[in-house]
Symmetry: C2
Subunit: 197 residues, 2 copies
């Protein structure tokens, strides 16, 4: 059934948009149905509850976005620090002024849902862990290649890089300012430079 898959996918994408805009709890199933033209019966056929729909959005939509926009680019060959700075700058240049004040989809869900729903928390944690490991791997490669300081702990550094990246996006989201995002990222670049050999 190609139609069924199309319906499911349409629901997932509309749900992602609605959740990204309003958060999970304030996301309205009726709005998702209006946007897709799908009926409530179909939604509850494909996903058994609002919660499971939210889980699927993380597992399928956000997870793919993370792979495409961060994990894969980070693993490209080159000097680890240069590559990471490049990837972050690339992301910063592609960002629209509309996106800046909506922030990072993963972080939004993390801040809203992790204290109140273990299922969300675990799924988000899994993605954060993959993200961190991707950075960690790149740093470790750099240490072996002699381009990253051997004295640093790659796991700890990766954790801080990820945290401050999310922090920068969070601050810029509230300020609604791409300029503030770039100023903030300069601080992160300074830290990254300090990891060079």
């Amino acid at each position: 059934m190609a139609d069924a898959d199309k319906t499911r996918q349409a629901l997932l994408e509309a749900a992602y948009e609605e959740i990204y805009r309003h958060g999970f709890q304030a996301a309205s199933l009726n709005t998702i149905l209006e946007r897709t033209g799908v009926t409530k019966g179909a939604l509850y056929h494909h996903f058994g509850s609002k919660q499971k729909l939210g889980y699927a959005v993380i597992d399928e939509i956000i997870s793919q976005k993370l792979d495409r926009e961060w994990l894969t680019p980070i693993q490209q060959p080159g000097h680890p620090i240069d590559v990471m700075i490049e990837v972050i700058q690339q992301a910063g240049q592609q960002i629209t002024s509309q996106q800046i004040d909506q922030g990072c989809p993963l972080n939004n869900l993390a801040q809203e849902m992790s204290p109140i729903d273990p299922g969300f928390r675990q799924r988000i944690d899994h993605l954060y862990r993959k993200w961190q490991e991707s950075i960690e791997k790149k740093l470790r490669d750099g240490q072996q290649g002699g381009t990253v300081k051997p004295s640093i702990n790659p796991a700890d550094a990766a954790l801080f890089i990820l945290a401050s990246l999310e922090g920068c996006m969070g601050i810029a989201k509230n300020a609604q300012s791409i300029d503030e995002l770039k100023r903030c990222a300069q601080g992160l670049f300074g830290y990254l430079d300090s990891l060079r050999c």
Copy 2:
């Protein structure tokens, strides 16, 4: 009317707790009324709407907490980098395992409300700006006293310090791990150390 002020204050504090736990949109006025024993008439007498109640929570409760726990401690005399590390460590030690997965009240509201309510955004931005300026002032003092590198831009560095501080708390909130908070903070301390003369 001492009673009226007491009622108002009780509402503010209960509202703060409820909002901290569930976010603003999911915060229930009825729950706040149950917890305080105040009636809906009284609430709508003191605050004209849920929105204005939220504004008052930022302006009065969260603003005070920020002053008490961060702005004032940062301004204490001493080596700027040492003082900041001390203040952050102090905050980290006082944190309970219950508080860690609730995160920073200000950041929670920022991520949830800034894209959808300009009134919230401006108020939160005002507090962030004060926070940043507090750090910036301390860095500038250090530059004049010869303990902080003159080459850095205090405003930019303060912005990044604030962002990565919020980032660390956000990551630790999702991981629900004080250990992860401390590992993450080590990265921030490394950055702070790099600002020394």
